[in-house]
Point group: C2
Chain length 431, copies 2
């Protein structure tokens, strides 16, 4: 299929958080991979483009997953009776050690990439492991998939199993240089992202080296922040001079914009469940993205991030599935989880913080997280043409349904690979 | 398939809440629809029975759904931005009105029963609507499905839309008499259950009449209890003389055992999110079952039922999907939801109430709710032979997995109709 075309169907998007933007039997126009907008009647100037008519199907913008661990896909939905630090030590680190073995990595990452490709996700921020070559292998597979992603070789030089810990900061940095040089110009859709695992696993010296690497290459940053109480206590112990957890990334200029030195490091931090007002203030000032991962925060008994507060403050927020803290790679599931936990926060914690409504959570999964990738997450003119076409006819019903009802139902019931008729990323048809 | 046979596979059950009971490549023996137990080696005395070998598949006890509304299946996963009372008035009551029309009921209930049959549920407590003939139609369909169920024609003579409200208590009672007489001896697997919708929808006079009906026929009772704060306030207003909500069922002898008059009315109450200590004490004393419906309690912003406390007190507890407050009819999903909300209760509300672990939630979905149906929910000798055989090979993985891991993963990832190779109810093979 050419990168300039028209698709027709029931187009469902959120161009503001507060409401759905629905167009029945309408036209979405793609020219050179970029959206020209949605039209109820096809303008004459696009009449020469190929038209793909999806009948009564649903057309959504592609889903954006701001936080997912590729090597953890193998054990999703298992070992869920533990909290974060125990879960890392008992299950996660032993599994990630295996990625030293490229044959294992190829098998495991093959399964992961295949699942991501078949689902509704079009873009993702992905953690690999600390292993350079397995990370490159993952990037090769991601590139072949047609999805767009940032992929990070993880940096970690303390506080994990011996096999998974890099010997020291120099070796970690050296490996990271080698990796970035090897991949930075290799792919079209797969870009490197600096990935300190989290403060407990990174010595001060390593953080210092990562600052240098970031400045040398200008690549974005992803990590974890204020996920669980135990983790935060540990960070306080490890870095007593930092006022709050996020400050220990900021000290190394790995936390968004920094006006003092005139840098703007695109940064996404997963979780932010227990961020203090000061931390939230700095995230806001620096434009740091929050990757809200509600399923993971439930499964690991971390807590509930007060996303309504962050929305009201104008933070950048997207959703993450956080495989395997989260057990499903479906961003649809993350949408409904985000709504559900916000309702529990409202009811059980603070009734002044009203729950998310469906349109708001859908917005987070599309334009919210999409902003990390540029103009992504809608069919507004100038946006990357990412689309998922879904056949919801498998969901039988006795009554007529509105398009709004069908949209909500498709997300709640988690239409997935078996129901996706087509998927486009920057205008490329990858399913 | 005869009702006496042996099945072979990986048998996974919980015969106590605290641990899994796992048997690799073992034999479950069914004689006349009743389990003889699980054997690692097949005893000689069963060698003459037909043997069905399911290879490396998983064999679970059937799932028990203690609370589901059949007419609400049509709008599951929609209209989820409202709380209980608004949701009832704006979506639920208008949809339930349609069941006056038997053609509509046949279409809608056909879809519902088909979904239930194809999933992992083997037994259910079902709400129909207030319409007698549509309820009988649903019972016909349930009987044909081979599933075992209690089905209730709903009683409601106030506080709903005019079309859905029965004209008065006498008409409601009269219709209920007619319905019970028509169905009580008609089916093998489908039994009537008295179903006052909830106190807000039932006048005192109606409750009085339902007491008489219950005494006349000795049938069990299902209703709703202490689901949301607004509902509880309303009940307090309607029935100021009752000390707590449950007391208003108990006053009419529709709340479990009553030693004063030497009755034992098998009763299941959905939700119990906000039950007071007195209410919990009475449920315990009377042996009332709690149908814990975590998805619904999240979706309708009701709250989190403190199931750990109820377990510790020794209450009877099962799980309910509560379609369409809950959006999925999968009891597997209810298991994981129950674990997740218990983790949120622990973390956000009271850290002295430790979360449910996987085995406990699985137990609730099998032996916990199964007790409402008699000896149901395991392969222990003397239990009804309800089994679900699942092919989890669709879930690819690079590493070897233990049976415990496969069991947990199957539940978390919601293996469903597409993965069910066989299903038995009291020894009848219905899939």
């Amino acid at each position: 299929m050419s990168k300039s075309f028209v698709i027709k169907g029931n187009i469902c998007q959120t161009i503001t958080p507060s409401q759905l933007d629905l167009h029945e039997h309408a036209y979405a126009v793609c020219v050179d991979g970029v959206s020209e907008g949605v039209f109820d009647t096809l303008p004459q100037k696009y009449a020469h483009l190929p038209l793909y008519d999806y009948g009564d199907m649903l057309i959504f913008p592609g889903m954006v997953d701001l936080h997912i661990h590729a090597p953890q896909y193998a054990f999703r939905g298992m070992c869920m009776d533990l909290e974060l630090m125990d879960w890392l030590n008992r299950y996660t680190f032993p599994e990630e050690e295996k990625y030293e073995d490229l044959a294992y990595a190829e098998k495991a990452y093959g399964i992961f990439v295949d699942a991501l490709k078949k689902g509704a996700t079009t873009r993702a921020c992905i953690f690999a492991t600390r292993h350079r070559y397995a990370t490159e292998l993952l990037m090769d597979l991601m590139e072949k998939s047609g999805l767009v992603s940032y992929v990070g070789k993880v940096n970690m030089d303390r506080e994990a199993s011996e096999a998974l810990t890099e010997k020291n900061a120099d070796i970690s940095a050296y490996t990271t240089f080698g990796w970035i040089n090897a991949v930075k110009d290799k792919y079209k859709n797969t870009l490197p992202i600096l990935t300190p695992r989290f403060i407990p696993c990174c010595t001060d010296k390593l953080m210092e080296e990562l600052r240098e690497i970031q400045m040398a290459y200008g690549i974005p940053v992803q990590s974890h922040l204020s996920e669980s109480k135990g983790e935060i206590e540990f960070v306080r112990f490890l870095r007593p001079d930092n006022e709050f957890y996020g400050d220990s990334y900021n000290e190394y200029d790995l936390f968004g914009k920094n006006d003092d030195i005139n840098t703007d490091v695109k940064t996404v931090m997963a979780h932010c469940v227990w961020s203090s007002d000061e931390e939230v203030g700095l995230m806001r000032k620096n434009g740091v993205f929050v990757a809200h991962c509600p399923a993971s925060n439930m499964n690991l008994t971390s807590g509930i991030a007060p996303i309504r507060k962050y929305l009201d403050l104008g933070l950048n927020i997207g959703l993450g599935t956080d495989i395997a803290g989260g057990h499903s790679e479906s961003v649809f599931r993350a949408i409904t989880d985000a709504i559900q936990v916000s309702k529990m926060y409202f009811r059980m914690v603070d009734e002044s913080v009203r729950p998310l409504i469906f349109s708001e959570a859908f917005y987070l999964a599309t334009m919210g997280g999409g902003a990390f990738f540029g103009k992504v997450g809608s069919f507004l003119p100038g946006y990357q043409f990412d689309a998922v076409v879904m056949d919801d006819s498998v969901l039988r019903h006795p009554q007529p349904l509105t398009l709004a009802e069908r949209m909500e139902r498709a997300v709640y019931l988690g239409l997935d690979e078996k129901n996706i008729a087509a998927k486009f990323v920057s205008g490329y048809n990858i399913i």
